[in-house]
């Protein structure tokens, strides 16, 4: 299945935030959206999640336009992790995780839950109050909840998308890497991942595709090698950036 953005624009008042973006995200592939602050990355993700409606253009999940899909159907086709993680009352981490499970038997929930807890290294956190956790820990819990939403779909081969908005913003290096590794692992289960990232090295290391945005437009898109060139990046970020291929690590490294 593809998540298709077709000539989409969005503005707040007269200020354009996203301009004429066309792109198709595919399941089985991980795509990073990068770009400077205010480039429209988060807005693009909000348009995809349905939180915002495009001013122009259409977004399709498979062949069906997102706007005509009931919320229940959408929930079966995509999970979203936003930057907001304010929970007013003192819920336990375990209760937050359970909220991600939207359908399916108790037995499958327990299996999926223990798998997610193990993968996201939440063993020590599940019995704690969500509000007592640090920002990074809360993000790990929200990520795990989104994973559970994906796992609660009826069949493992059913297509699904995971949308992540700066999921690693407050995490330490180890958990940052772990989150992206786990995200890559679920790609096998006919899932597509779209992630807004600030760290160019993480984008270089984990993405199949990269979209580089600037002032609401897609400046470049394609495989990391095509998009991550020192010249384009220096231009977009208005600061000197060098990209080299690190032979020992076998991947691109970005220096700024």
């Amino acid at each position: 299945m593809s998540y298709r953005i077709d000539d989409v624009s969005f503005s707040i008042g007269s200020l354009p935030i996203v301009r004429d973006v066309t792109y198709a995200f595919e399941t089985g592939s991980m795509c990073s959206i990068i770009g400077p602050n205010g480039a429209g990355k988060t807005t693009l993700l909000k348009l995809m999640s349905g939180e915002l409606n495009p001013g122009k253009g259409q977004i399709y999940l498979g062949h069906r336009p997102l706007i005509g899909l009931p919320l229940k159907e959408r929930a079966k086709l995509r999970a979203v992790m936003t930057q907001n993680s304010v929970v007013v009352f003192d819920f336990l981490v375990d209760e937050i995780l359970e909220m991600g499970w939207i359908s399916g038997s108790l037995e499958r929930f327990n299996q999926s839950r223990s798998k997610v807890v193990r993968e996201c290294e939440l063993e020590d956190l599940v019995d704690r109050k969500f509000n007592s956790l640090s920002g990074g820990e809360q993000q790990r819990v929200q990520f795990a909840r989104a994973l559970l939403q994906i796992m609660s779909r009826a069949e493992d081969d059913e297509d699904h998308f995971l949308l992540l908005d700066e999921p690693t913003a407050n995490m330490d290096v180890a958990h940052e890497l772990n989150l992206l590794k786990v995200s890559r692992e679920i790609l096998k289960e006919s899932v597509g991942v779209v992630v807004v990232l600030h760290d160019l090295n993480l984008a270089a290391r984990f993405s199949d595709q990269i979209i580089l945005m600037d002032s609401g437009c897609v400046v470049a898109s394609g495989e990391p090698e095509e998009v991550l060139s020192g010249k384009i990046l220096s231009d977009v970020y208005s600061t000197p950036i060098r990209v080299e291929r690190h032979e020992e690590l076998g991947r691109l490294v970005v220096y700024s």
Binding site: A75, V86, V87, V88, D90
Partner: protein, 318 residues
């Protein structure tokens, strides 16, 4: 949960018993009449009103994602009182058919509550997120406006009407008779059942409105349902026993402290504890200065207001 329910269930039952023995000492021939016609409906009403206020409070707190939402504080109760008083003053001149008259008061109160809640919601969402401050300030404004309305009606009212209005403002369970009780109890029960069925959705709402939508919750419909059900529940209560403050604020907090914030335990727990507390408050109101009685809202406010201050003090550092 079960243990707590049993304890509360017992105390709910225990109150009429202690009352009964209290009665036997003075006049045991009157015992039956007193129990079935005066104490009985009164205790049943107290239980339902307490439960309904607590459930509405819990649901509104969940919906507004704000622990300070209380039907009394944010003006839902005074809206109900305004509706009821409107019916008292103008009821006769509205030209309603006779059979409808007993229902006119509850209907007026329910409509008043619903109007206030809708206004509150529209106003708060127009300015984005509901912050604690916004909602309390709007509540003050709504209460003041309702006060103006009530004052205006007072000016228009005659002597008899005035007396029944004062009774509404103070809150009392003393007017309970089975006939006036039934319609309100039916409304309150329906509302509570509806709200209990929203408990899972209210849980998901705690992640944030958009986050709940991402999980398939039709947030707009939930908002409408919860607002209407809780306002109708409060309004129905107000129509028989006037404004009773703080039950809707205090009870959900106490339940959250013991059972956790999940609405599937919070709402039934609030119903049981609300009923128990209300019966006790009414008991205190009756026996403090026998044979006279003090308005029950004095008791609930005397307990609730310090609790409210404590809540504010506690939430400061966060």
């Amino acid at each position: 949960m079960l243990a707590l329910a049993l304890v509360f269930g017992f105390s709910v039952g225990a109150v009429p018993f202690s009352l009964l023995s209290l009665m036997t000492g003075t006049a045991s021939t009157l015992e039956n009449t007193v129990f079935y016609d005066i104490r009985g409906p009164r205790v049943v009403l107290a239980a339902f009103v307490g439960a309904s206020l607590a459930v509405s409070g819990a649901s509104l707190q969940g919906l507004f994602r704000n622990p300070l939402a209380d039907p009394g504080l944010i003006g839902v109760s005074s809206g109900g009182a305004l509706g009821a008083i409107f019916v008292i003053v103008f009821g006769a001149s509205l030209g309603l058919v006779d059979w409808f008259m007993p229902y006119a008061l509850p209907v007026g109160a329910v409509l008043g509550s619903i109007c206030v809640t809708l206004f509150l919601y529209a106003f708060a969402s127009y300015f984005g997120q509901f912050s604690v401050v916004t909602i309390l300030l709007v509540g003050i404004a709504v209460n003041a406006l309702a006060g103006v309305g009530i004052g205006a009606f007072q000016y228009l009212a005659d002597d008899g009407q005035l007396r029944s209005m004062v009774f509404w403002m103070m809150g009392s369970l003393g007017r309970a008779t089975w006939i006036t009780l039934l319609p309100a109890i039916v409304i309150m029960s329906i509302c509570m059942v509806i709200l209990i069925r929203y408990s899972r959705t209210l849980d998901l709402m705690q992640l944030g409105e958009h986050e709940a939508e991402f999980l398939g919750v039709d947030v707009t419909r939930v908002k409408r349902g919860v607002i209407l059900a809780s306002a109708a529940g409060v309004g129905a209560g107000v129509s028989i026993c006037g404004i009773i403050g703080f039950i809707g604020l205090v009870v959900p907090h106490l339940v959250r402290l013991s059972l956790g914030p999940s609405h599937s335990t919070l709402i039934p727990g609030a119903a049981l504890l609300g009923a128990a507390l209300m019966i006790l408050a009414d008991l205190v109101a009756r026996i403090m200065i026998t044979p006279a009685e003090i308005p029950v809202s004095l008791v609930t406010s005397a307990l609730g207001a310090p609790f409210f201050l404590w809540l504010i003090a506690r939430s400061r550092p966060v």
